[in-house]
Amino acid sequence: MRTRLGWTHGVFIAASLVLIFLSVRATGADFGETAQFFVRGSLGGPAAWTRTLKEFLPLLMLGTAVLVALRAGLFNIGADGQFTVGALGAAVVVLRLGGASGMLLGLAAGLAFGALWALPAGWIRAYRGGHEVISTIMLNNIARLLTLYLVKGPIKDPDQQGQTTATFPTSTSLPEITLPSGTLVTSGLVVGLLVVVGFWIWERRTVAGYELNLVGANPTAASVAGVSAKRVKLGAMLASGAVAGLAGAIFVLGHEHRFYANLSPGYGFDALGVAMLAVSGVPALVPAALAFAVISTGTASIQTLGVPRGLSGVILGLTLLGVAAVAGARKRIAHE
């Protein structure tokens, strides 16, 4: 069978686009006006770019986190929980310790908490054979409930009504950078880009990076070559969790300056789409994360026209299905 992308793929993608069009029309909004608001709200001017880049950073870092695990053949559905727990770790540190040292320790706590939250999933997969998808779904829900409990009571700011901690001391904020265009970004964006570049070089230039890909591509060949698949898988999961936790820490230290219930609007699930779009190579993470960020801010800005945020879920879902379908064709060729 030499069929690569058949006509059915085209029909599927066309049907998805029609469904998105119909979803917008069903809400009674004018499609042309909606599209215009969508683009203007996400890419038109410095304020729009500020919002889009705020979404871009967690998507980029979580996309990287998911991709690290994916290289070892693991699906880290738990990036959302690791992000949340990483942010919690950073919050707990900077609420006790101000200044630059608090900020740096907060970032370190994010890394550590994220890795810690990924540990059970990595260990279960490597040494117990239990599927990481199940364990990470469980860990996501536990993270959500645990942080909800904490912000309702133990770490809640008694002076505020909502389920939130106090605002962090300003001395712990990541410095903001104003780009020449007037767009505001956090310096955490530099950290995020460095993580991507670092992973790209590491994957291509180091023995460990080679082993990671080897285990993902063919665990049997890896074990014949003397590479411990168990060790590599556990390591990949921990690294993935650490990057996700760091993303959470940067999100609260650079943008939100407090920790609150349901902090992530589902970045970890969008990140799965980002990583799937970037399986061909690490640099593709940047445009993929940007596309998802534009979808997120674009759908937020068309709410004024009466189109609910649910549209972003529809787009995400259809993207995941489409990407998985196209990737399936590629995999079929690889088997021949």
């Binding site: 059915t8 793929h9 599927f12 979803s23 069903a26 809400t27 009674g28 699906f75 559905i77 059970p120 260990w123 279960i124 117990r128 054979g129 239990g130 998808v133 199940i134 364990s135 779904i137 469980m138 860990l139 829900n141 536990i142 409930l145 645990l146 909800l148 409990y149 309702k152 009571g153 699930f269 799965l272 799937m276 009466g306 189109v307 609910p308 945020r309 649910g310 549209l311 972003s312 879920g313 529809v314 787009i315 995400l316 879902g317 259809l318 993207t319 995941l320 299905l321 990407v323 998985a324 379908a325 196209v326 990737a327 399936g328 064709a329 995999k331 079929r332």
Partner: protein
């Protein structure tokens, strides 16, 4: 004594959506299709059943619409995993996102503007009787019938079962459609327990059903026991709300986390696949 009866009653009512979804998941996973989309299928059914029964005033039309929504998602699931050979995990996540976004869009963007009447539902007993019948039928079907044994064979090795003359594609599609039907009923029951549809109202029950399925080793009776145990934690939580247990107030979140924690602990201590189909998730 009255409290105990009340507890058992609400355990059955709250556990039944889990049982229905878990039996759907069992059929699909035993045929080899990993189904993390139970959540999305139930959510779509819960939404459509509430929307249609409130606009028609007919509970049967509501159930039909809910089940149709869930079965449609199952068809998409089958198309993507079987025809396009897509990854089962990514496509499952895709269906969950599509259902979460689509139901929210439908309710907030289309029906809220029109102001809907209160939905009408079938009596709850219709659901838990169906759930129980589904479990007993599956016990018999999987161990005593040719169709059931073929289903398990496809899940263990699609290539070997093809050499034996079976048609894995057809068996997997039928299993997915049956899963859609059962998840659909589960979703209808969730909406009917609550009396209306709210955004994201399945709140992880699809994943809890999946957890019960896995803890039960992909067998109907242990999965049923798991679902009822998880249903009981939900019932206990409602009944003990605000009271002290051994002098400590147990936070709601701890009750809600119990099924997830139990699953995680079981995975930590269990070695191997725990009796699951050998080719789960393999195209």
């Amino acid at each position: 004594m009255n409290d105990l009866l009340l507890l058992l009653g609400s355990t059955v009512v709250l556990g039944s959506p889990l049982v229905l979804a878990a039996m759907g998941g069992l059929l699909s996973e035993r045929s080899g299709v990993m189904n993390i989309a139970l959540e999305g299928k139930m959510l779509a059914a819960a939404c459509l059943t509430a929307v249609v029964s409130s606009s028609t005033g007919n509970p049967w039309a509501g159930v039909a619409a809910g089940v149709a929504a869930s079965v449609t998602l199952s068809l998409v699931h089958a198309l993507v995993t079987q025809h396009f050979k897509a990854d089962h995990i990514v496509s499952g996540m895709g269906i969950n996102a599509l259902a979460a976004g689509g139901t929210s869009l439908l309710v907030k963007g289309v029906f809220d503007r029109e102001g809907a009447a209160a939905p009408v539902f079938l009596p709850v007993a219709a659901y838990w009787v169906t759930a129980l019948v589904a479990v007993l039928y599956l016990v018999w079907y999987l161990t005593r019938t040719r169709g059931g044994i073929r289903l398990m064979a496809v899940g263990n090795s699609p290539s070997k079962s093809r050499q034996m003359g079976l048609d894995p594609l057809r068996i997997r599609i039928v299993s997915l459609l049956a899963a859609g039907l059962l998840c659909g009923l589960g979703g209808c029951l969730i909406a009917s327990n609550a009396g209306s549809f709210t955004d994201g109202m399945t709140s992880g029950r699809g994943f809890i059903a999946l957890a019960a399925l896995i803890l039960g080793g992909w067998r109907p009776l242990p999965a049923l026991a798991g679902c009822l145990a998880f249903g009981m934690t939900e019932a206990l939580q409602l009944q003990l709300q605000g009271t002290l247990l051994l002098g400590v107030a147990i936070p709601t979140e701890a009750w809600n986390a119990l099924p997830y924690l139990a699953t995680l602990v079981a995975l930590l201590f269990r070695k191997g696949r725990g009796g699951g189909p050998a080719s789960l998730g393999v195209n």
